[in-house]
């Protein structure tokens, strides 16, 4: 009896010791996958920053608010107009593209050549403006955004992945692939790159440079809308959700601010690492971890992960 008891205790201790690191690994992958989903959203917003910055040298601090507007537009279509989800996505993209073009035609075009400081102030003002307009239209309440996927978490080994997270990662991967193909193989995509690199030469080729700026604003508003539609179901829908752009900004800087792959990798690194830090270290570390990572990377590589040292041509 006595010896049996001791033997049993011993066995239990041995088993739980053997399991413990496995539990940590499960937790690690759990945090990793949900961090990846969050990182995808950061990556998409960072992508918007980079697209606009590369083409027009404007740092658009309203990128997070573009995302919020996109999410609310989609929400309204679904909730008030009862449009099916996939049609909503298409309509939202079109509406946001029009929003981007109008913003460029009616406002940004007249700010070309203003000092960088004024442009920064302008985009910060634009963010405030969009937030308060959203507050007037959609109130300051928090809404639940219907998720397009539902059901049980998917078991991958012992790691459970929420279908929402799978959707976010899958959709982001698809979007990035489409953007890659667009920039690599279409005339318009190459002309956009050309315009970003050398405006004077773009004019020489007969490229409609002002038109390209409109396309870039439309494109980044569309990417932001996708981010909003992906984020809203997993987080919440609120006029202040654009503040998440403050996390995407370090992601863009991390990637070298000007590199599209850099923005994506930067977003993923920040999403994953802050999730892990929040889980394994202290919960409150999560909110500042993006900046800690950023500072650490910039100390080692001041030009960012994907940035290249180059002199800007004037």
């Amino acid at each position: 009896m006595d010896t049996n008891y001791i033997r049993r205790r011993y066995l239990i201790a041995w088993i739980s010791d053997a399991i413990k690191p496995r539990r940590d690994i499960v937790m690690f992958w759990q945090l990793f996958t949900s961090g990846m989903a969050l990182g995808c959203v950061y990556a998409l917003i960072a992508l918007g920053f980079v697209l606009i910055y590369k083409a027009t040298e404007v740092i658009n601090f309203a990128q997070g608010e573009f995302m919020m507007v996109g999410a609310f537009v989609a929400f309204s279509l679904i909730h008030f107009a009862h449009v099916p989800f996939w049609i909503t996505v298409v309509l939202t993209l079109l509406i946001m593209a029009a929003f981007g073009v109008l913003l460029d035609r009616l406002v940004m075009r007249f700010l070309v050549g203003e000092p960088a400081f004024s442009l920064v102030m302008f985009t910060i003002g634009l963010a405030l403006f969009l937030r308060s307009v959203a507050g007037m239209i959609w109130s300051t309440d928090t809404f639940a955004f219907p998720s397009p996927v539902s059901g049980e978490a998917i078991q991958l080994g012992s790691v459970a992945i929420a279908p929402g997270d799978m959707l976010v990662v899958g959709a982001t991967a698809l979007l990035v692939l489409l953007l890659y193909l667009f920039f690599r193989f279409t005339n318009l995509g190459i002309a956009l790159q050309a315009t970003s690199q050398n405006q004077f030469a773009a004019y020489l080729m007969g490229i409609n440079v002002e038109g390209m700026f409109s396309v870039v604003w439309a494109l980044s508003a569309m990417v932001a809308a996708v981010a909003g539609i992906l984020l809203a179901p997993t987080l919440f829908l609120h006029k202040d959700m654009g503040f998440i752009g403050l996390k995407a900004f370090p992601a863009a800087v991390l990637g070298g601010f000007g590199s599209i792959p850099g923005a994506i990798v930067g977003g993923l690194i920040i999403g994953i690492s802050e999730n892990l830090a929040g889980g394994f270290l202290l919960p409150w570390v999560k909110d500042i971890f993006a900046y800690l990572v950023l500072i650490a990377v910039l100390i080692v590589r001041p030009e960012g992960l994907f940035g290249i040292h180059e002199k800007k041509k004037v």
């Binding site: 790159q193 690199q197 050398n198 004077f200 004019y203 020489l204 080729m205």
Partner: protein
């Protein structure tokens, strides 16, 4: 016959500074015309005015009989004027292939582009080896070839070139001028050439204009220009017997 391009009394300002002071010139279809002049004479300004980057204050730019003064660069390209700028201005982060593709950006006949690209690569075999490389990694000479090749691909009716030989080695300069001649002969492109290299450009072109501080001071067929005493001394660096005897500082250009 109406010339392809005719400038009538063009005046251009940079702010309050009058850079071009009433320039008139003509380029006939199928010709190579050279503009010579010292630094700051206004050669670049003239080319930029023709391609729509600068709007002339006064005067007319007649291209195929129509006044194009005040059109924007895109409209100028649409009408068939392509400019190879001073300092190459290739798209650094695009590949050679993509740079060439941008040259054909406005073309409607996409089908013929690939055969035209092949021809450009025949002119410039160096580009073929670097076809998939970034243009920013090319040497200066290769970038110049790319800039010219890119311009040819737009099938311009008028090709304007701003100092294509700038900063190239003597062998490469000769090569570039040979290519310019071939583009003119084989492709039938009309070329307006701005150069510091007076000897080669006078040998290449059929007509020349000499520009000094914003004015055309002399124009003639290149054969005549090469015989002109002042051109010989100040542009070709040949000193005549009679002149060498005199005190150099006493001699003034008379432009006769």
């Amino acid at each position: 016959m109406e010339p392809l391009l005719r400038l009538k009394n063009i005046e251009c300002y940079y702010g309050p500074v009058l850079a071009i002071k009433g320039v008139s010139l003509m380029v006939n279809k199928g010709d190579i015309v050279a503009i010579l002049g010292a630094n700051g004479a206004g050669k670049t300004t003239i080319l930029r005015t023709i391609s729509g980057f600068i709007e002339p204050e006064k005067g007319e730019i007649l291209f195929e009989g129509k006044n194009i003064a005040g059109l924007n660069p895109q409209q100028a390209v649409r009408r068939g004027i392509c400019h190879v700028p001073e300092g190459r201005e290739v798209f650094d982060e695009l590949t050679v292939a993509e740079n060439l593709r941008m040259g054909a950006y406005l073309r409607k006949d996409r089908r013929n582009v690939s055969s035209d690209v092949k021809r450009v690569l025949e002119y410039f075999p160096a580009l073929r080896q670097r076809y998939r490389q970034r243009a920013g990694w090319l040497s200066g000479g290769e970038q110049q070839m790319l800039a010219i090749g890119r311009a040819i691909l737009s099938k311009p009716r008028l090709l304007t070139m701003d100092e294509p030989s700038l900063g190239l080695s003597p062998i490469l300069v000769k090569e570039i001028f040979q290519i310019i001649r071939r583009i003119n002969k084989e492709e039938g492109r009309t070329i307006l050439l701005v150069e510091q290299n007076a000897r080669l450009s006078l040998q290449t072109a059929s007509y020349g204009y000499i520009l000094e501080v914003g004015r055309v001071v002399l124009d003639n067929t290149t054969g005549e220009l090469m015989e002109n005493e002042d051109v010989k001394e100040f542009y070709l660096g040949i000193q005549q017997e009679s002149i060498r005897g005199k005190k150099r500082w006493k001699r003034k250009k008379v432009w006769r």
